[in-house]
């Protein structure tokens, strides 16, 4: 009852155009004080605002956004898209497919869905729109591609799951690989299907002779170098994923210098744009902690899970009900908070039903990632909306087909868990 009231308040505030971070924050305050009075509210107000932000694991968000801003400033981004446009030629939705593939690669490296979405929104959406792509398609596509970050290693969120579940970290990370690839393919297939039904969404380019194609490759070099710096930094043990984000930002700064694009005004604009996007994301994350702790205290999640776990239904049906709970939580809460709150409660139930904990980790992350683009609180959608100035509800509508495709994958992985478990079982060693 209390929970319903607080969530209703949140919905009303959001609909009346209260900024998302403020709306979540106030709902959290109202929830905490109605639940336990002033002592409870004071306790969480003393801890959350500082400790939610004083967090090393949030640092990649501003760092990767800054990298994207410097890549934009260097001018290399638009040349890269020129190259992509020339090379994909007359392929249908070529640029969209190219964006998905390069975005997936970047998301894979960044390990943070929000940072990936913010970076791609700044670099690729303006280019796609300039080339005649439908704005809503471009925005929706980028919001969805960002969610790949948590599936493909390195993934902070999969490691976090493994630690909570006391499962093999190595196996959980390996298990994310094939599903991540399949989600990428599903996004590409959805884009192609959408464009086929409505060719106006993405114009065909023109064919170019091979000489022109080769000439465009000069822009690809620096970007590949930057990419190698970030990926190589992580894979060769030079840097942790967080530090790799800093290397990327410095590398992109160097790229600007090398191309003589550095001006004081340019640097200021890059820092200012990074601050604007990051502050919005971090405010939502901080406020979501307050709301999340209120939901935890009320034990709604636990009650739901207990009810579902006690059902005398086939295991698959019970799991699908649990999946619905995760989708709903994903609509309201931060992923890390969702995992901390639910895994200790849900995992025993799931194991009792005969499911594999490694498989379940991949499923939970996939579901929470879908939550990042589902209304009313799809953080990735807000990030893209923030970067492009497009109304969030337009982007929410544009991601619906992609959500459908990802839900089909959820069903596929439920029917055939071997798809998820194949790599970790064949390569995972002992």
């Amino acid at each position: 009852m209390l929970v319903a009231g607080v969530l209703l308040l949140l919905l009303v505030l959001l609909l009346l155009r209260v900024p998302v971070g403020f709306a979540i924050g106030l709902s959290g305050l109202v929830g905490l004080i109605s639940y336990g009075g002033l002592p409870v509210l004071a306790g969480f107000l003393e801890t959350v605002p500082h400790s939610a932000i004083a967090s090393h694991s949030l640092a990649p968000i501003p760092l990767f956004i800054l990298m994207a801003q410097f890549v934009l400033l260097s001018g290399v981004a638009s040349e890269l898209f020129d190259a992509a446009r020339v090379w994909v030629g007359r392929l249908p939705a070529g640029l969209g497919v190219g964006t998905t593939v390069s975005g997936a690669a970047f998301a894979a490296v960044s390990g943070s869905s929000t940072a990936a979405a913010a970076t791609l929104a700044a670099t690729s959406i303006p280019e796609m729109e300039d080339r005649g792509y439908d704005g809503r398609l471009a925005n929706g596509l980028v919001a969805v591609v960002g969610t790949l970050a948590a599936m493909v290693p390195p993934s902070i969120i999969l490691v976090f799951y493994a630690i909570l579940a006391e499962a093999s970290v190595g196996k959980v990370l390996l298990a994310g690989f094939l599903p991540g690839l399949l989600v990428t393919l599903a996004i590409i297939a959805t884009t192609l299907l959408l464009v086929r039904r409505n060719p106006d969404l993405a114009p065909r380019g023109e064919a170019h002779p091979i000489a022109v194609k080769v000439r465009t490759l000069t822009a690809v070099g620096p970007v590949l170098l930057l990419f190698a710096l970030v990926v190589g930094g992580i894979y060769f043990g030079l840097a942790t994923p967080t530090e790799a984000a800093a290397l990327g930002a410095l590398g992109a700064f160097g790229l600007c210098a090398a191309r003589r694009r550095l001006t004081l005004a340019g640097i200021r604009a890059a820092l200012g744009a990074t601050l604007a996007s990051s502050a919005m994301i971090l405010l939502i994350i901080m406020a979501a902690f307050l709301l999340g702790y209120f939901l935890t205290l009320t034990r709604v999640t636990q009650g739901l899970v207990d009810t579902i776990g006690g059902l005398a239904a086939p295991p698959t049906v019970v799991f699908l009900l649990i999946a619905v709970v995760y989708l709903v939580l994903g609509a309201f809460m931060d992923q890390i908070a969702i995992l901390a709150l639910t895994v200790p409660i849900v995992l025993p139930v799931v194991e009792e039903l005969g499911f594999d904990p490694i498989w379940f980790g991949v499923m939970v992350v996939l579901l929470a990632e879908i939550g990042l683009v589902t209304p009313p609180l799809g953080l990735n959608v807000f990030i893209v909306a923030r970067a492009t100035g497009r109304p969030p509800e337009q982007i929410f509508r544009a991601v619906v087909p992609y959500i459908a495709a990802m839900l089909l994958l959820v069903l596929l992985f439920t029917a055939f868990p071997q798809i998820v478990l194949w790599i970790p079982e064949t390569m995972g060693g002992s």
Binding site: L15, A42, P62, E129, T242
Partner: protein, 176 residues
């Protein structure tokens, strides 16, 4: 008059936030070099990034971003409301933000007075910087209070507190 003074404070804090971001990049890159090339890591860098640079970047940068309307909102219903009602929604937005940020200010003051009164600091000899804890926590009430002041101004003038719905490509506010 009050507006101009507030603007100066916001800009000054925003500048510190920008410097914190730059410092974050340089510190982490230095740490990689120190560890990998020189073999002697800066053991304090994680604490520096989380307790100082992230906190300064967010809390000192927040006021400018609220002034520039960097915080997204959902327009779907707002756009269909009568023109006379829309300013009231804008006031509700500023009011909501004001209540939230005042609460954060109070929480930050509770925390800061507690750690300052106790004289807490990481002990010397541990890898962390031995700076008093309040030097980190004080940025919470400071940033939240300045943001709240801006929201009071928005409440009075009735200007919207979210991204203007331009539908155009990237339009980033600048830190001046």
């Amino acid at each position: 008059m009050a507006e101009r003074m507030l603007r100066r404070v916001e800009d000054a804090l925003g500048l510190v936030a920008g410097l914190a971001l730059a410092a974050m990049v340089l510190l982490m890159c230095t740490e990689v070099v120190a560890r990998y090339v020189l073999g002697s890591p800066l053991s304090w860098s994680v604490g520096m990034v989380s307790n100082y640079l992230m906190v300064a970047f967010f809390y000192l940068g927040l006021p400018v971003t609220v002034r520039e309307g960097a915080h997204v909102a959902i327009d779907v219903l707002y756009d269909r409301l009568p023109r006379a009602v829309q300013p009231w929604c804008d006031r509700l937005a500023a009011g909501t933000g004001l209540v939230f940020l005042l609460a954060v200010t109070v929480g930050g003051i509770l925390l800061t007075t507690d750690v300052a009164a106790g004289g807490y600091a990481p002990p010397a000899g541990s890898a962390e910087l031995s700076w008093p804890v309040w030097t980190s926590t004080v940025m919470v009430p400071l940033g939240a209070l300045v943001t709240a002041a801006r929201l009071v101004l928005l409440l009075v003038t009735g200007a919207p507190a979210s991204v203007p719905d331009t539908g155009s490509a990237v339009s980033e506010p600048e830190v001046h």
